[in-house]
Amino acid sequence: MTLRNVTVAAAIACVLGFGPADAKTLRWAFQGQLGALDPYTLNETFTLGQLGNVYEGLTRRGKDLAIEPALAESWEIVEPTRWRFKLREGVKFANGNDFNADDVVFSAERVLSENSDLKTRLPADVKVEKVDDYTVDFVLSSPNPILHYEWDTWYIMDKEWSEEVGLTNVVSASDTASSKAAFMSNGTGPYVIESHEPGVKTVYKPNPDWWDEIEGNIDEVVFTPISQDATRVAALLSGEVDLVDPVPVQDIERVNASDNADAMTGPELRTVFLGFNSIRDELPTSDVKGKNPFQDANVRKAFYQAIDIEAIKSKVMRGLATPSALLISPLLFEGSGEFERHPYDPEAAKKLLADAGYPDGFTVGMDCPNDRYVNDEAICQAVAAMLARIGVKVDLNAQTKSKYFGKVLATGGYDTDFYLLGWTPGSFDSYNILVNLAGCRDETGKGGPFNLGGWCSPEVDELAKQILVENDPAKRDQLIADAYTIMHEQVSHIPLHQQSLAWGKSKKLDLVQRADNQVLFKWMTLND
């Protein structure tokens, strides 16, 4: 059905009145827009979350983020490097095609193919073997206990359909050829996309043949991007939409005070933290010449203890943040409770600086995005003010995310001395953090691509290697805790907090807010 036909059909539907009287239409608005629907184009929370209503992986995550069987009914580790997945029988894609092992093999090849943005979902050298129509083996080169951790967003596509519409290759985010197929979808999930006009409107309808039951009662979903904060909140307050994401921090009280809507807040998985450049021999933005003060753990700890995290929480974040001692959310690592932040103590910080040879402090430049995380620039300003109290003068360079990331990431040559960044481990697992944020890296980023400051500890790297192949959960958790202990004591980074999610919803709407910020319609109920 072309877009035009859909619109005509919609127009006719308008003229005839809206279907059955008790149809439950969820109208929801997000600040960004939904672009291409190819599930391997963009590794980004919002897009993957929306596609999670349409597509399914072999596994899925429940209301509490626990891993559940989805398209795979069960799985077992036959030998340490061979995982066997039993596929669910009788599942059909939205176009009526059967789901079977060929689709899994195809999806595995596709997700690892050149243009895919989700290559991390599978090890690059994995061999996917079809045993029979409903059994698939994944053969690994080394044991990997968290093989399936990210599979809830590795959506399985239909081989026949993809070949038919010309989606055999992934439409990359950069593709300069026009592609209509990138805006079509064919999943096995609870909803199907009826029409999709990027940047304007997307309509979802329930999939009548879904193998599982939809718990909620939503018969239709109309999604509109509304980029302006004020308009989005106004649309919620006036009852024109039932759900908005996000509600700006300063509007939460206003939403709660209204008689038809309230704000739902909860901790997000992303951790916001500060990082130091310790790989450079000299900091270009600092007045300290001939050496790099951040190579001294005392200096890093002085910075840590100079930051009043409670003040940031209450004044900058208006209470909507959970201070963190680790670079990972407590929801994702059970041992988090054993770690406590180094206490806020400006006097101790001054002493540490003096011991390190900087009794009068020094100057340093700081890089900060101003439109990426909640109140990111304000956090940086607060940090700069707090550091001024121990004699460190911070030159803050807060800029828009495209300029910021262009400067501080590998493409910009990791050009930063002191920075603020947020990180959600895609796998929901600590290994991702130990490698990406804390792995020793070279000039090009090999080893620890997002370890912007290049902090390096051979012990942590060694532990990470063991963690990767350790199949025993208890032993593995202990190894992770050991690695975090080193990072905490050495002050590899300054973890700040997990920011809060803030959704605004109509009082009539019941829903499940998951910490990964996915908006899933199957758990939503609109009451009269």
Binding site: T7, D117, Q228, A230, K403, T411
Partner: protein, 325 residues
């Protein structure tokens, strides 16, 4: 005459070239589009491959010449976000912007002219003073604030009108219109007022000053002396003569309305070209930004060129001056 038009044409081409250079140069420094297009997990190698594929590694001159050449063919490339030709995208968003712009121009004329006439005739009436005061507000408040105020009053508090979007649209094949459905018309009211308020104030003040001017002239005095009714004098003679500058200004302002619809469209999430442009800025979608700037520049150049040519028809002095220098 031909020389004059040719010269104006040459100037227009020069303007367009300059705009395209500015557009092109500005976008090169707005930030790396690659960072917007990929997730944060993407490796440096993938990013480098992407830059190569996008042609971002070619020399600036090569990129500029390629840009202008393609623009001449209405080929602005493929949008990074939408994977569709930018020309097509802009055409699909054009009806929304034109409907909004024309509605607000009509609003400005229909309300602005009578108010101007009234304040021109009844200079000291309290209603005139009220109109003038209100118009001062209209001219001094920024558009987005007016839009948000209107949303707050009419959508949130009174719940009379929608706060965002375009309502239901009907596809006529070549044109998707919101003018044929009740919800579409309702959705048009607030954005049209927001966008047209400034122009309305402008037209009102223009008509007023023109009326004051005309009412002082001899032929009006003679008309009065002849004993014509006030109504015939005011509307039959005076208003008719004030309308020439009004029409010129309105024509020119239509270009401005279309160009500055960006803010109104963003506030009301009106799915037109302006919103497309702003979303493109947020996502560093360079092809869309470039195309939009060029299109708006082209619009202004065409309007100005037409006005210039019309002047030569109306006023021979322009023609003589044009060929003498």
């Amino acid at each position: 005459m031909a020389v004059f038009i040719l010269r104006r044409l040459a100037q227009s081409v020069l303007v367009m070239l300059t705009v395209s250079l500015i557009a092109f140069a500005m976008f090169r420094y707005i930030g790396d589009p690659v960072n917007q297009m990929v997730g944060v997990d993407t490796t440096p190698e993938q990013r480098a491959a992407l830059r190569e594929a996008l042609g971002l590694n070619d020399s600036v001159y090569v990129q500029f010449v390629r840009f202008v050449w393609n623009a001449l063919h209405f080929d602005f490339g493929i949008s990074y976000q939408f994977k569709q030709p930018v020309g097509e995208l802009i055409l699909s968003r054009l009806p929304a912007t034109l409907e909004l712009s024309i509605a607000s121009a009509i609003f400005a004329l229909v309300i602005g002219i009578p108010m101007g006439v009234y304040t021109g005739i009844n200079r000291d009436a309290w209603l005139s003073k009220l109109f003038l005061t209100v118009s001062l507000v209209g001219i001094s408040l920024p558009t987005f604030l007016i839009g948000i105020l209107l949303i707050f009053i009419f959508a949130v508090n009174l719940r009379l009108l929608p706060s965002f979007g375009r309502g239901d649209v009907i596809d006529l094949g070549f044109w998707r219109t919101g003018l044929l459905t009740a919800s579409g018309l309702k959705a048009l009211i607030l954005p049209a007022i927001t966008l047209g308020l400034f122009q309305m104030t402008l037209i009102m003040r223009l008509v007023r000053s023109e009326m004051l001017e005309v009412l002082r002239t001899d032929y009006i005095k003679f008309a009065r002396a002849r004993g014509l009714s006030e109504r015939a004098i005011n509307f039959g003679h005076a208003l008719k003569n004030t309308l020439i500058p009004v029409i010129t200004v309105t024509g020119l302002q239509l270009g401005a309305i279309i160009a500055f619809a960006i803010i109104t469209e963003t506030v009301f999430q009106w799915p037109g070209m302006g919103l497309l442009f702003l979303q493109a800025v947020q996502n560093v979608d360079i092809p869309i930004m470039a195309a939009y700037l060029m299109l708006i520049a082209f619009l202004f150049v065409v309007i100005n060129l037409t006005v210039d040519i019309l002047y030569t028809v109306v006023d021979p002095r322009v023609r003589i001056g044009g060929s003498a220098t």
